[in-house]
Amino acid sequence: MDTINGKIKKVSTRKSKKVCVPETVVIKNSRISALDSLSCQIRQDIINMLLEAKSGHSAGPLGVVEQYVALYFGGVLNHRPGEPDWAERDKVVLSNGHYAPAFYAVLARAGYFPLEELQTLRKFGSRLQGHPHRKKLLGIEASSGPLGEGLSQAIGLALAAKMDGKKSQIYCLTSDGEQDEGQVWEAVLLAGKLKLDNLTAILDRNNIQIDGYTEDVMPLEPLKEKYEAFNWHVLEVDGHNIEEIINAISHAKAIYEKPVLIICHSIPGKDVDFMEWKFEWHGLPPNKEQAQIALNQLRTLNGRIISEDS
């Protein structure tokens, strides 16, 4: 089935109840449609986690979902969720640790830990610390939270892989606000110098940070040209188009003697209308009422589709 037209398709994913695929979207193939559905489910996971936790970040995690889904479910990542410390795995360093809700939800959906555990986010005794901690949960390569440190650690991993003749790819998940940190540019310089072609940074360009729009707080543009000037290869994609993201990650593997940056242009708070483009939702969780509205919007893609069971 290459195109969905007219009817709503109900897709079951492992352990999830029902996932809706919008009828209005023309989808090229069934794999991508399944991943779009999964993204919709993960957004609901995120809302449910944040509601239960009563604190945490909403806008960024909602906007980044397709990027993480493309990486973990798009057939590009060499990993074994049942054996997270498999020595030959590709390694993913989440640098902007406040994206934890999206990261945890994707890891759980990928089978790294039980889905039920998502509801323990930020609670005492949980493996899902407010910001990810390596020693708490397999699948986390490096603890994060303080911004600007992930790329450096990814460089260390990439360098070690080169020294050891391993074919692993190293991915650094990062975002735009984080680029304000001076350490990021120390790392960008070094990765260019070392020609780390096994390193790919996936940057969520959602244009917001806590205090406002990135271009007001600290202008980053021209971001692509900045990285290129530091001897990186840069790709730009629609951060909500899973196929484009998968293609870019595959493309990055073929780039020789340069690290690759994939700039994913995304909408913060994606698919929850009162959160979209609102930097105020950077660090806020929804309350019960807001979560209800958000979940309803996500289930129906804001009225564009009607779930079969409604």
Partner: protein, 333 residues
Amino acid sequence: MINPEAKLVPNIFESDIISKPPRDGFGEGLVLAGEYNEKIVALCADLTDSVRMKMFKERFPNRFFQIGIAEQNMAAVAAGLAAAGKIPFIASYAMFSPGRNWEQIRTTACYNDQPVKIAGAHAGVSVGPDGATHQALEDIAIMRVLPNILVEVPCDSLQTQKTTLASVEINKPFYFRFGREKTPLFTTEDTPFEIGKADIYWLPKPEAKKENTVMIVAAGPLVYNALLAAKELEAEGIDTYVINNHTIKPMDQKTLINVAKRCCGVVTVEEHQKMGGMGSAVSEILSQHHPIKMEFIGISDRFGETGSPDELMAYFGLEAVDIKEAVLKIIKL
């Protein structure tokens, strides 16, 4: 008297005692470690010769990485290398690493519990003419408060070499500091050395009375000044123990408490701020387990100065005569 079990150099108080920069010990130790353990890699921030990483760089060019003047990046890159099974040493002046990159060390090395080895060179006022910006006087304080890390202050060049080698065997983040200038080489290959174990280098007379005996607890090259003070005090009829308290964390509580019980007071000696340093750590232990009179030799809440190392040691009161005075003050209290 010198503790014979310490096996210090026989000419310890003679004018012909050899002096050697502790940083040389680091450079030699790193090459030795590199010879037997191929997991060892070295990262430097544009001070390769000055911190004596050059020998490693020349011997193992494929295991050396020039990071540029970027200490924050260096610490976190090292944590990534450690996460992939390497044993990375990072070196710069202590003022810049861990001075500049404390939070990176906290999060990426300590919180991640990765065995990054942090070599802090040019520690203390003895750096001399470079002045206060380059004289690390706070590094022990900021490192010893971090979970998971060990903190070591070797007393001479040979012990710096031993520390470098020993750190490889400990699968934890590890900080050690050492100075730039030549200092007396007074330990030997046979001198007992174990991370976490304080060593007694000077003993009181067998018949010494507790009210006339003071414990001098020193770290770094000032252990030698403490021994000079002990010798002079002995001639004046005052007994002391001199402890080389080289491991700041985890500190050897047992030895400190046991020796303190045989003394009427304690003098701590270090080339570091008094606040938060080795002396503070000793005080934390003794105030809980054996409250006792204490005097602190160190830097008193101020910055360093430009000058020759000798001038500065005298100006800041870190010489044998200052240690002696502190001991006499304890006795008179």
